[in-house]
């Protein structure tokens, strides 16, 4: 490690690594230098002059955000001259600022407001008319109010560098300068809202949140995004049992402040008008609303009857429900219903990966590894569309550490822009492409291999053999689609000895099929009735009347991820906690529904209490790899599971043909995505053009 540079800031002796910026060195010493345009992790801009400090032997004040520390440097951040410079900078920023704080979304959490409060500039000497331009709508999500903009370029940089999209720019000059979208008057972009979130003022506002509330009227609840498998933490702003916004400004969680459109805005499905609010029971061929007790009795009586008659149960679990729910469901199926027929829609072959890595430890990569490891190999997936957080991490790794990125994919991907090698392959061509890259990969100090459902069963074993033959430390990520796809596998929502797979259950003549939070009968798009139920009794737990629920005998309205507590496991096997943000009338968490069914059946004793904490304690005791440190997840962090250290075989042999990813793009999220207004409005906007 190079010698530390010694300098003095406000009389304090400070040491910092060479190249450290004065603004960061001051921060480490507990001295805050105000800044607007400086933003950790983005390129330097030096546009706002808010960070001016005095430096001995330098004739003019310097911008602390661009000045690297030097030996013996003497910096002063709180002199009368500095205070005056800050005040003038603020006065200047306010010359055309509309000061409509009382109606501005940012009021109360605005960096400009805070600075003016702290450094004065309460009076303006500017008497001319302010330049005003009307507000513009760039997209269903992004609105721009030019007069409020302080031209810090944060939005431009986060979009260009962080997102790799580059959809925002600054046009014109001087007082007329304004932010412009990439396609004439509108944006064609990821609609991630990062630009809105990073804006220090209320210039960029979101179509979902604007004019909904004052920031201080919300409570903030840390939840985990329920869409893709990346497991971003999203802090939900809640008021009067309504979710008003999602963001992650406190950077807690594996995603830092990153969120894609789904984590930031697509929580809105929870109050979709079609949300089920009362249980339904089929009477004379029609689904009718009934009380919870009637519905639960109907299910419990029928289940008991089938048990008594020795009938067959099939159970299909979910990619979205919590670990506790999946664990409880499996236990219910195995111990109460005594059936091996249990499965869920599998989206990636984690089982094969764990099996292939048996006997080895520490080989599953985490989200953080994608940012920290020296090289990343992406196989198959278009990460920017399907796994936005992972794509973001790799991009940041490249920007900050010049990581070597290899992309071997069927089509062009965002990673191509900075990859050291981009290879296009047809299905079946992966291993040839890998052989071609062998020499280069061997030369890397370490590698993370990310693969999707292009690799299943024996191919996963072959891939791991390839990885192991490189002679360098290799870690793996097997991509799965949804927020708890990984947890569903880990909790054992897979067939037992002699058990039927999902597709087999759909076609079988079962006495009862119980579907929790899945839509297996969604069928082929455009082919009505392409999957019709065979089971004699169908119970469905869901948020909406899906194609599957429509065919059910009993439909039980379930709570969404944001309406319950529990844990979920993301695609990299990291466990995080969900906290209930709101209560929704009529719906109940799946765990509670299952508990009530068990109670009505008189079987609750065998299953134990349906309290998330209790079930999780049992998971930690009994599920391989889940003996994770509690403080880690209780404080809002993520704890990686350590997968089974031994062979994992699937009853009845592997069936890679049953594993298929939905390959949801940025604006899709399986059945759930159809009920998000924001995702639909973005899609419609695209079709219109």
């Amino acid at each position: 490690m190079p010698d530390l540079v010694k300098l003095t800031i406000d009389g304090k002796a400070v040491q910092a690594a060479p190249g450290t910026l004065v603004i960061d060195a001051a921060k480490m010493a507990g001295i805050e230098i105000p800044a607007f345009c400086y933003y950790e992790g983005l390129t330097l801009q030096a546009a706002c002059r808010m960070c001016l400090v005095e430096v001995e032997k330098m004739p003019k004040m310097m911008t602390a955000c661009t000045l690297p520390v030097a030996e013996g440097m003497v910096v002063r951040t709180e002199t009368p001259q500095v205070a005056q410079a800050r005040k003038y900078t603020l006065e200047f920023l306010l010359t055309n600022h509309p000061l409509d704080c009382p109606v501005c979304d940012k009021g109360g959490e605005c960096e400009l407001q805070d600075m003016v409060f702290r450094y004065g500039a309460g009076e303006s000497r500017y008497t001319e008319e302010k330049v005003h331009t009307p507000e513009k709508q760039f997209s269903p999500v992004v609105f721009f109010d030019a007069p409020r903009c302080i031209l810090c370029f944060r939005c431009v940089r986060i979009c260009n560098e962080g997102m790799g999209v580059g959809a925002l720019g600054v046009i014109y000059r001087g007082v007329l300068s304004e932010i412009a979208p990439n396609h004439g008057d509108h944006l064609e972009c990821d609609e991630c809202g990062a630009c809105i979130d990073i804006c220090p003022v209320g210039a960029l506002t979101s179509g979902i949140y604007r004019y909904q509330t004052r920031p201080w009227e919300m409570q903030h609840v840390g939840a985990i995004c329920t869409h893709c498998g990346d497991g971003c933490k999203t802090t939900l702003g809640v008021r009067n049992n309504r979710i008003i916004r999602g963001n992650n400004r406190d950077h807690s969680g594996i995603n830092g402040e990153f969120l894609c459109i789904k984590g930031r805005y697509a929580f809105d499905f929870y109050d979709h008008p079609e949300r089920l609010q009362a249980p339904l029971v089929r009477k004379n061929g029609k689904l009718e609303e009934v009380s919870w007790s009637e519905a639960l009795d109907t299910v419990a009586n029928r289940f008991n009857q089938i048990r008594a008659d020795g009938g067959t149960f099939g159970v299909i679990g979910s990619n979205h429900t919590t670990n506790e729910e999946n664990f409880y469901l499996r236990k219910f199926a195995r111990e109460v219903l005594a059936t091996p027929h249990i499965d869920h829609h599998r989206t990636g072959d984690v089982t094969a990966l764990v099996d292939a890595l048996s006997g080895k430890t520490g080989r599953m990569a985490t989200v953080a590894d994608l940012y920290n490891r020296k090289a990343v190999l992406v196989l198959g997936a278009d990460l920017a569309r399907e796994h936005p957080l992972l794509s973001f991490q790799i991009r940041a790794n490249y920007r900050h550490h010049q990581a070597h990125v290899y992309a071997v994919t069927p089509g062009p991907v965002r990673e191509d822009k900075y990859a050291v090698a981009s290879v296009r392959v047809a299905s079946g061509g992966y291993f040839a492409a890998l052989e071609d890259l062998r020499a280069r990969l061997k030369a890397e100090p370490e590698l993370v291999i990310v693969f999707d459902d292009s690799f299943k069963g024996p191919d996963v074993h072959r891939l791991v053999e390839f990885g192991e033959s490189l002679g360098i430390p290799v870690r793996y990520i097997c991509l799965v689609d949804y927020s708890n796809s990984r947890g569903a596998l880990d909790m054992g929502l897979v067939p037992g000895e002699g058990g039927m797979r999902l597709d087999e259950m759909l076609a079988a003549d079962l006495s009862a099929l119980w579907v929790v939070g899945a839509n297996p009968f969604k069928g082929t798009p455009g082919v009505p009735g392409s999957v019709a139920r065979k089971a004699r009794f169908l119970v469905v737990q869901d948020l909406f009347l899906t194609e599957t629920a429509e065919q059910a005998d009993v439909v039980l309205p379930a709570a969404s991820a944001y309406e319950k507590s529990g844990t979920v496991t993301n695609t990299t096997g990291e466990v995080q906690r969900l906290k209930r943000a709101i209560n929704t009338m009529g719906a109940k968490p799946d765990l509670e529904i299952m508990g009530f069914i068990a109670r009505q059946m008189g079987a609750a004793g065998a299953l134990g209490p349906w309290v998330p904490e209790t079930v999780f304690a049992e998971i930690r005791r009994t599920v391989h790899g889940y003996d994770i440190p509690l403080p880690e997840i209780d404080t809002g962090g993520a704890a990686p599971t350590t997968p089974v250290n031994g062979r994992v075989t699937e009853a009845g042999g592997p069936r890679p043909d049953l594993i298929r990813s939905d390959h949801n793009g940025l604006f899709a999220s399986g059945t759930l995505g159809r009920y998000s207004k924001v995702l639909n409005s973005v899609l419609e906007g695209r079709l219109d053009r």
Partner: protein, 160 residues
Amino acid sequence: MTFSPQLEARFDKLLKSYPPGRQRSAMIPMLMYAQDELGSVTDELVDEVARRVGVTPLQVNEVLSYYSMLHRKPLGKYHVQVCTNISCLLCDGDKLWEHACKKLGIGHKEVTADGQISLEEVECMGACSWAPAIQVNYDFEHFVTPEKLDQILDGLRKKA
């Protein structure tokens, strides 16, 4: 998009004038020369230059909207720029500007009905020592008085 052979040759030379990977440096001269040929910077031209120098059309737009000598709308055959910045202002540049507007019956960035002359009020052109100054296309006129301006404009009309 295709241009005249002369312009294509110029573009080639420009793109080779900068070190590899720095082709974006050619953006401004390319826009200028193309504007001379096309009469204005069209959307099509923006896309084409973006493609050739390897940036996004938005980035070309950022640059071209910054510079006042690049125009999105066609100008007159003779583009008359009158400086009203400080040195010229002290020498009655503002009166010169008003005079020009009145005489031609057009204002800032407007074109006469026949498409021959356009006017633009500009900031300092670096001709302060000879203030007040005006610029007609690429040529400067120094120490301009209202009478001299009349002569110049009448001359342009005749040339037209």
